[in-house]
Point group: C2
Chain length 270, copies 2
């Protein structure tokens, strides 16, 4: 079983550079006497990642086939049309995936961070650009290696399937946003999503009204994710601020003052 859809025709275009910043996974700094297993078991990404259901020696063996790689802010992990030689799990930092038109118009199709898998939606070549928003550490597997692991570890296979399902749901949600939501609804939706995924607070719990949201990406990135211009993004955030629904600590640090109201706005119910 291969993750790659070999039957799909590939598009013509050159591949890009490769191989900077690599380091063997097993050369990670730390106590040399510690058993290998612990590197992965204590990994910040493990609980949410492809390997989340592996433990003990299976996890150790799976992990031994991976390498960590560090990418500095602004650097590309890969470009659209590149041969898909590696798949990645984000350990830390934020990655943006995007597609572009010839004249420079850009659509960001997703932001990936700790635990997220990068490699869905490939047909042998990557179908998007992947760029580091800040310093990013990824755990990379070669495509053949991962494909073999999928055969060997059915729990990895199952987890991948689950992640693909989540991804399809996310993309469908985002299509509804792009096609049918107003700028105000888009921004509210975006902030609520970030809050749910990254604040660490359980928003379903009662009496929670105030949530911190960090936005590592620029306004341009937000605009290109939501199908807006930066000016509209900025004006809309200002409007929410003036209404008291949010407050701005800095441009990149937003405090949601009323998450319930923001959710109503996000779903067109306000």
């Amino acid at each position: 079983m291969s993750l790659t859809a070999a039957n799909i025709a590939a598009k013509p275009k050159p591949a890009a550079t490769e191989g900077n910043g690599c380091q063997r996974f097993n050369t990670m700094p730390g106590n040399g006497a510690q058993p290998k297993t612990n590197y992965c078991a204590s990994c910040a990404a493990h609980d949410k990642a492809l390997c989340s259901r592996l433990t003990g020696s299976d996890l150790a063996e799976f992990g031994s086939m991976s390498q960590h790689k560090t990418i500095t802010a602004g650097q590309m992990l890969f470009s659209e049309y590149d041969d898909a030689r590696y798949y990645y799990t984000v350990i830390s930092g934020d990655v943006r995936l995007s597609r572009m038109l010839d004249d420079g118009r850009r659509q960001i199709t997703g932001f990936k961070s700790t635990g997220d898998f990068i490699g869905l939606g490939t047909d042998g070549h990557f179908t998007a650009d992947a760029e580091a928003i800040n310093e990013v550490v990824v755990c990379q597997f070669t495509v053949p290696t991962l494909n073999q692991s999928l055969e060997e570890y059915s729990v990895v296979q199952g987890r991948l399937m689950e992640m693909m399902q989540e991804e399809v749901i996310n993309l469908q949600n985002h299509m509804l946003l792009l096609g049918r939501k107003t700028p105000m609804e888009k921004i509210a939706n975006f902030l609520v999503e970030r809050a749910k995924k990254y604040s660490g607070v359980d928003l379903d719990g009662d009496a929670i009204t105030e949530v911190d949201v960090k936005l590592p990406m620029s306004r341009t990135d937000v605009a290109d994710f939501l199908g807006l211009t930066i000016e509209t993004v900025s004006r809309t955030i200002t409007k929410l601020r003036k209404n008291g629904v949010i407050a701005l600590e800095t441009a990149q640090h937003i405090v949601i003052k009323d998450i319930e109201e923001l959710e109503l706005i996000a779903n067109g119910e306000a």
Copy 2:
């Protein structure tokens, strides 16, 4: 291994009605003496479907676990939030998948026809409405049955993975369209896509300029797929017609007069 992402929280809402129009797959009309295999081997959907890599007795056994079901135009196959009890392969006809906002705004996330799998993007519940555009025949599997088959037939598993990859690519393409393309580019893109998928003509071959495109869906559906209003859809089609890039046999039957030009327009290169 289960296709369902059991860990994802399910949303609250009632399930819908079920069970009309069912018929046992093996009671299909035809020569009773024919071996079972042939029913699936000669199925119009087989080559593109989940079962495309199964042959002989495997195909027969896999097929024996399915049922055919006929849905009349306008009827729902399932609704958003319904328990996902079945997965489907479209045998014939056209299905639209959509998500709605409370005030009625709708985004169609895809049109499914012969060979397409319906059931991607579920978390135990369906995350979209599925409606028949015309009379539709589907081949349905219960979720547990299909999950078991995925274990048993690795080629089915592999084909599913491939189809999910294609789906993710499709959705990413459509996000670029929704977020960043002009109405003219959207319509051109839509027509080219339909032509590539359904005309049966190999468009990469040279000297092909004229292609028939049938649109089983209404202008409202097209609008809700492309994030436009029906008026804008209509006006844009009229403009293409006046420019001679397309011609209208009827509203539902469009002839692409210059596919190359239409592709340029679709990609913002014209």
